[in-house]
Symmetry: C2
């Protein structure tokens, strides 16, 4: 499934800068480095830290791009998808009841079921949902997979395209459409592709390419054309339904709630984070080199504050941007701090 011949591209060749530090007892115990870039609606770099040309896999941070063919094809409207379902198509959800119930109904409305998914099973990260499964003696299924909303979107598009069942194959019409949209909005030919955790292809691009796409989402307005309308609808859906995009206790949900419509944000595996700022017409992308999610969460929070989407004094700015480390007895042990110079 993978092509390992293009060795040498990727963030290892680049000048990453310190992003976040873990402090404990007066000593910097651990350090995360990475890249970040802010791009405007013309695709130009407003500000960058590290190397904005570093090649990354967006992983789940590009789900709103993967949802573009679903909307632009007319498949979403033909299926009568609601804004909550569009938000779920962009989600890395917790597998809580609100997510798994919505996916179950969505598949049912399509005349499909869990067996039609190709994302694989995953234990819910939502603790009540996880415990309910264990108490019932049930095994997690594909509906609990954090990507099951994206895959329901793929299946909706696939129904519209009348294509074959193996919709995660890279040459399947669903993924061909996703790749075309990805290249158009990033403004770059894909730099390679890999198999994502949910078995769908994930296309590589530069940080600037992905940020160019996020800025395009930020400046898009409904009524200006097919692409603009689709982008604006997806951004509005994410901001209107932050609970569908991730879930309780999660950064995406809590930050979007705190920003009250000033930004849509999305995390991706291996410490990618993106932000779409419609008020400012900006797109933000960052990647922490080592894949440490705690650092990408802190870094995006720092940039959301810097660009005015999140108030510096909001409790979520502290919770996600400068989290305290406590022992299992609740004793203060340290904190995660933004590295000097990052996002300054």
């Amino acid at each position: 499934m993978t092509d390992e011949t293009t060795a040498g591209i990727g963030p290892q060749d680049t000048g990453a800068v310190p992003v976040a530090e873990l402090w404990r007892g007066g000593i910097c115990e651990s350090l995360h480095a990475g890249h970040a870039v802010v791009v405007d609606g013309s695709g130009q770099i407003v500000e960058a830290w590290g190397n904005p040309q570093a090649v990354i896999y967006p992983r789940s941070s590009c789900k709103m791009i993967q949802a573009l063919p679903l909307v632009e094809s007319g498949a979403a409207d033909a299926a009568g998808l609601t804004p909550a379902q569009l938000a779920l198509s962009c989600a890395s959800h917790n597998g809580a009841a609100i997510h798994s119930d919505a996916v179950t109904h969505w598949l049912s409305d399509l005349g499909l079921g869990e067996a039609d998914l190709r994302c694989g099973p995953q234990e819910p990260s939502d603790i009540p949902a996880r415990d309910a499964l264990i108490r019932a003696g049930e095994t997690p299924c594909q509906i609990h997979n954090n990507c099951s909303g994206k895959h329901s979107g793929f299946l909706t598009l696939n129904r519209h395209l009348n294509a074959g069942a193996e919709y995660t194959e890279v040459d399947h019409p669903v993924q061909v459409a996703v790749r075309a949209a990805f290249e158009e909005v990033t403004g770059e030919a894909v730099r390679g592709w890999g198999v994502d955790g949910c078995s769908a292809p994930n296309f590589a691009t530069s940080l600037q390419g992905l940020a160019r796409a996020m800025a395009a989402f930020a400046v898009a307005r409904e009524g200006r054309g097919l692409r603009d309308s689709a982008q604006a609808r997806l951004v509005q859906a994410m901001m209107a339904h932050p609970e569908m995009v991730a879930g309780e206790t999660r950064a995406c949900t809590e930050l979007m709630r705190a920003m009250e419509g000033r930004a849509a944000v999305k995390t991706g595996a291996e410490a990618v984070f993106v932000a779409i700022l419609p008020e400012k017409g900006l797109g933000i992308v960052l990647k922490v080199l080592d894949g440490g999610t705690r650092a990408s969460e802190a870094a995006i929070t720092q940039l959301l504050v810097k660009y005015g989407a999140l108030e510096a004094g909001h409790p979520m700015a502290k919770k996600w941007g400068n989290p305290e480390i406590r022992s299992r007895r609740g004793i203060h042990a340290g904190e995660l701090r933004i590295a000097p110079g990052f996002g300054a």
Copy 2:
């Protein structure tokens, strides 16, 4: 509890080198950097990558040092501790039944109970134990904490010292004894201290200091004196009971089983890993800068192979040193590789 005045020391000031790379679809997706050092019984450096003078918290990797006062004081023998219990005193265990049952009996033998622990509650990482608790509607307690064996050792020493109940305070006789042993075996005054996840103090030292201690454990033999005997007994206990030191599916347990008495290994939070090689008389210490455990596990495996403790063709050398990444449907997606030049 912490002293955040000694800013500036720690691994951020140092020249870390690439340690491990995550490859997906022909692209290096993520990268981990760090330091490693190999020291002989005279305390001299045999080989190093990165900066062996970088200051680190050993975290749980130094539990065999924290157990020295337990053995040297005579407390372990007075309490009739078995080798399995000594291994458990050096453990970061899974909270499986073999661990929680052993701790429950140990505390009972001391006339103590769960409420006397000061490590805080933690959900077992052992899935059968976790699920059994959930099905029974029970809450994880301090006995399930991965450090409960170490804390049972602290309580055993504390009984012997007849000191107060708050044995995790840094000026309590138990921790004063631990600090003295730590400084003696590392050959360095501690560089600071922090609160560990289990609320006990954790003392900072250089990689070389910690490796000097591990080499001292490696060359220690029973009958040569109090310190040597205690060190040799703890190493033998760890190697004889790898199941007590971590648990099923864990690197420490699986690597020690594979090495069949050629090395004792121990992980610590924030990606520290140590190895004690009695056959070679060597101590190894490594720290991955970002705290990424997948990289520290791969790196120690590489060094165990290089120094002859683990056969290169053993399945555990592949599993821990070069793990495959699969999607949730089991499709090959990539692999974690040792970075070129590390451990070469």
